[in-house]
Subunit: 414 residues, 2 copies
Amino acid sequence: MDAEIIAVGSELLTPARIDTNSLYLTGKLNALGVEVVAKTIVGDDRDRLREAVRLAAGRSQIVILTGGLGPTEDDVTRDAVAAALGRQQQLRPEIVAWIEQRFARMKRKMAEINQRQAFVIEGAEVLPNDRGTAPGQWIECEPAPRVVMLLPGPPRELEPMFESLCVPRLERLLPPQVIRTLHFRAAGITESDLDQLIAPVYTKYSNPVTTILAAPGDIQIFLRARCASQAEAEALNAEVGPQIAALLGDRIYSRNGDPLEAVVGNLLRERGATLSVAESATGGMLAARITSIPGSSDYFSGGFLVYNDRMKHELLGVDAKLLEKYTAVSEPVAEAMAVGARRATGSTYALSITGVAGPGGGTEAAPVGTVFIGLAGPTDCHVHRSRFIGDRERVRALAAQTALNLLRKKLAGG
Amino acid sequence: MDAEIIAVGSELLTPARIDTNSLYLTGKLNALGVEVVAKTIVGDDRDRLREAVRLAAGRSQIVILTGGLGPTEDDVTRDAVAAALGRQQQLRPEIVAWIEQRFARMKRKMAEINQRQAFVIEGAEVLPNDRGTAPGQWIECEPAPRVVMLLPGPPRELEPMFESLCVPRLERLLPPQVIRTLHFRAAGITESDLDQLIAPVYTKYSNPVTTILAAPGDIQIFLRARCASQAEAEALNAEVGPQIAALLGDRIYSRNGDPLEAVVGNLLRERGATLSVAESATGGMLAARITSIPGSSDYFSGGFLVYNDRMKHELLGVDAKLLEKYTAVSEPVAEAMAVGARRATGSTYALSITGVAGPGGGTEAAPVGTVFIGLAGPTDCHVHRSRFIGDRERVRALAAQTALNLLRKKLAGG
């Protein structure tokens, strides 16, 4: 079965914005054995959108629209789809009531225009939205099987709606086929090195299909086996997965798709250990990732954001002479920061990060991108020096990722 | 004038790949006063691509195709465009010779299939490719002005070709037209309330066009005026912009698109003031945003991540009796955290955040989503209580945004 995705919104036609929903949806559809054959991005323009829907619905069995379900004049998706399918819309009082309740919970009154979001296309099933005021719509059309979906634009609304309401409906619609996915994540290796290492294995197999998705310092590897039965799909993955895992060794940090901060959190919890941080260059990014995991208060003690020399000295007890002699971006200061954070919080481990994120501030001894990461534990403290290439955000992201990965290796090895 | 971009290639329909060429092209076209009204991604499929070209060329004056100009069976762009426009193709011996020379320079022999790249659509101008074997094509159509461009997919081939060969041709084709944009950002108001407030103004004008883009706690408003001259475009924006700004009042925090953390940073710098933070629920997210701005060390002193009661007491001096009596998520503790951070760092201002981000941890007095934000300054300390709706990441993001906005108002007002 073929699918097309239509993203709606003039902001998606500007030079800086990309449509990330379609990437998420493509992954989910592929996992169901559905191929995406075209993607379209249309601005907030009723006529163009109507034409796009008519073309897509005329040739593909699954058409997914994202965005344009808001309450304003700009939000044209409902009208355009109704026009393309030649159907009417009805105001559903129960949806109005639901939106009103949502506003009431926030101690606010629903604005008149939010009524627009309660219009439903004839024959559509309403997909409730737990996280926003725009309900989705699921519309089955002739000749069956054929479906048009209207989903909200914000990923945090779209993703749970698609997962919990659309995937089960699609599974009923689709021919029986089982897909089993292995999801590895790796750190401490570049995408091209990783590809060179594992390509000799995965190119031998057309099933499972291997996909590699790289972000700074973090690579995800998906093996997707499509078979008539679960046993066959699992057998294929069991043949290929271990070969890839063996080549990557301890660079693989997750075999179930968990992010690095969750893996590190689990390792700390299992060992009854706690962690504190002392961040300079990353200014809170490392701790923000650690605390993004629910329950992280079990093992995260706290930390220090020490953005200048005085704070490093006063809050962490870094010797002023050390700062003067070596500067803040140095191995001895990284070590003193980690040791100081551990002492002040009483945590089992402490991570410190000091570096030059740029664009300014580089020196000959520590050019932009230089980062020292300290890891203090019960018996020792090690400092790791890196030189990251990229802009400020990339350097900071890589520093946080590298710090987490150092702790993971320490915990897994010890 | 309107443009559409069609990216060709099945690899662009996988979960991990994005079409970056269209972002580059959109930037260049906008600079010429051309708006991109739709983008399409089609796989290597002759029929679907022919339909897409026919639709685009039927309604937009500029159609740009990227990719699909290679030598293999998969490379369908030439054939699909020729079919859509109802034109023939001719083999051009001089292009064959040119491709052969290119191979010869690399000490290789041209493969037979590369001849395909020497086919040119009737009436097209050939755009030489300095960096690859696929020449581009520039095809003017009726009714003039109307043009279809075929460009190679690799950015390093496409970008110089577009810049040096297409931009000058487009400039000759285009009516003199200038685009000027106003970019406001607002906080402390929901999208629907904002829209209700300003729609009476912006709906009166078709030029400038108003676009609203909402993220949690942060709304962007773009006014884009398209005119024959810069003076006219600026005059239109100067007519509409202030009306919208007046309605929104101090909810507008930026008139040039700067994010809130940059605006707060500038206010602090102008006043020679410094800031520290004490974060519990947000665990570093607030500081990570503040320090994402280059030069933030001028005003960011540092901070404390106090993720449990002991740290709140030991690092910030929050009275243990206060914690026991009111719990950590309370107004007195938020106040004590802000005052403690300010005292420990000697900063002019301090922001504290304590709350229940969820999903667990809610109580009757402080259900999930409850957040207290403290703001301590030289003369006073205020605490703001919020109840945010949403998941853990949303509650944390809204808490950080609200804290920054409280400080902005304090600085702007004081």
